[in-house]
Amino acid sequence: MSGRLSPGIIVILALLAGFVFAAAGADLLAHNDPLRQSLLMRLRPPGTSTATTSYLLGTDDLGRDLLARILYGARASLMVAILSVSVSLLVGAMLGLLAGWFRGWTAILVMRFVDTMLSIPAILLAVLTVAVLGPGFLTLVLVLGLTRWPRYTRVAYAQTLQVVTLPYIRAAEMAGCGPVRILLRHILPNIAGPLMVVATSEFGLMILFEAGLSFLGLGVQPPYPSWGSIMAAGRQYVQRAWWLTVFPGAALFVLVLCVNLFGDWLRDRVDPQSRSR
């Protein structure tokens, strides 16, 4: 495939860049303090302005500027998702590769550990772990990262099992390639597509998961916003102050959609089989 990009993917990349930019530049973009409350100005609709400032997207139930909170919230949501996906992808893919390559007892050990972890519903494990470790950003990343790796392992394992039976791997082995080289150069690219698909859909799930924990009251600590915590707080006002859930919900939706579409596109590019055609 050549370096040409379709217009669709350019839009997606631009949107993703926009999210990263918004998160990184929240300090510059927001003209109000996301933590500054004004109890007299609570639940004001979008477009409200006062003598001193204006609220483009309205205010929340403590009179804070929703636009500023969404911008700063992007930072928390993106960081949680990126870090936890990285942790689980790294741990999960490595274990899956090893299990698929060595098979035998390694595979039995790894895959039974996977079964063990996967059979405990992630949300229950997360709630329990937060109870033990105490809440906080780092806990959140660890809890999400270390409860979700088994999904990558299962996919990596199943894919590796398929790939190692392919003739060219045997050919590479016979040509004297070492196991590390075969794993990284020949097998990893082959299984990267499905792993990417898992990672991208997990990325969205992690953002939703953080939101779910916020709903249960155990997400990012107040008063700092994340999209999940803004929405969890705003759902009580679905009818009275729709903007509290609609704007962060729309941001979340567009981001997850873009990441998933990007994942599909990326997969088509990294998959050597579809590239050869």
């Binding site: 039974r112 969205g204 709903f215």
Partner: protein
Amino acid sequence: MIRQLAGRVGQAIVATFGVLTIVFFIMRLSGDPTLLLVPEGATAQQIAELRHALGFDRPLLVQYVAYLADLARLDLGESLVQRAGVAGIVAERIPYTVALATGALLVALGIGIPAGVAMAVWRGSVLERALAGFVLTGQSLPTFWSGILLILLFGVALGWLPTSGADSLQSLVMPSIALGALTMSTFARMTRIAVLDELSRDYVTAARARGLSLRAAVLRHVLRNAAIPVVTIAALEVGNLLAGAVIVETVFAWPGIGQLAIQSIAARDFLVVQAIVLFVSTVYIGMNLLADIAYAVIDPRIRLEQ
């Protein structure tokens, strides 16, 4: 084959045991329910007395051994909060959970698989993009929000479906959609990828060169082979459908074991949580065993590991 199977079952039992051990110790590290059981004005001495009466002042290892001993006698114990047999408490919720998981799986597979096939076959078309956006919608919205929107739309505004509860088949519809929508796109995407992979393989090209239509190729060969990753994901999802439906069950007041689990964690009702985990992990590990066997049947290239 039978020996292999016996080995796998043995491993499954070990995995279940691992689950129980992990959950036992994490739960105990998170404190005990004594403080939740005493009235607000209780004194330190009264609390100590209740803690002793409940047995939570014993060393952790002693409690663990006592728990395993009870379990070995197939005794799941009595709930500290509800003062009733744990087995009964959990068993009462299982039909609701199975109903919801089935409904959700029907929604997810019923929409996800055809959408995935269509996305692969009509790759690059407007249809693919529209379908991709559609199946992703369910996965891109927090359930605690989309759930209440569903209730307000179909329950309050249109009056088509009951707003909460579990007393009729109608009340199963909204929770199934909400839960199924979460995994629908996973199935669609895995199906799409698997079908694309198969479509690009030599045997499909060969078959098509022999004059087989695309439709026939998909139906005859591709779907069968593409089923492997889809089966993997389906097996993976079962655990989450069983007890991961915490938020859906909370929003729709569906009395499944997810809701029971989260309430029991909040109440530190240890034995109930452990019984739930035992149930979920047994089902889950059993499903995965079946999935592993299914691989071997569907794809002769893969054999059960010893």
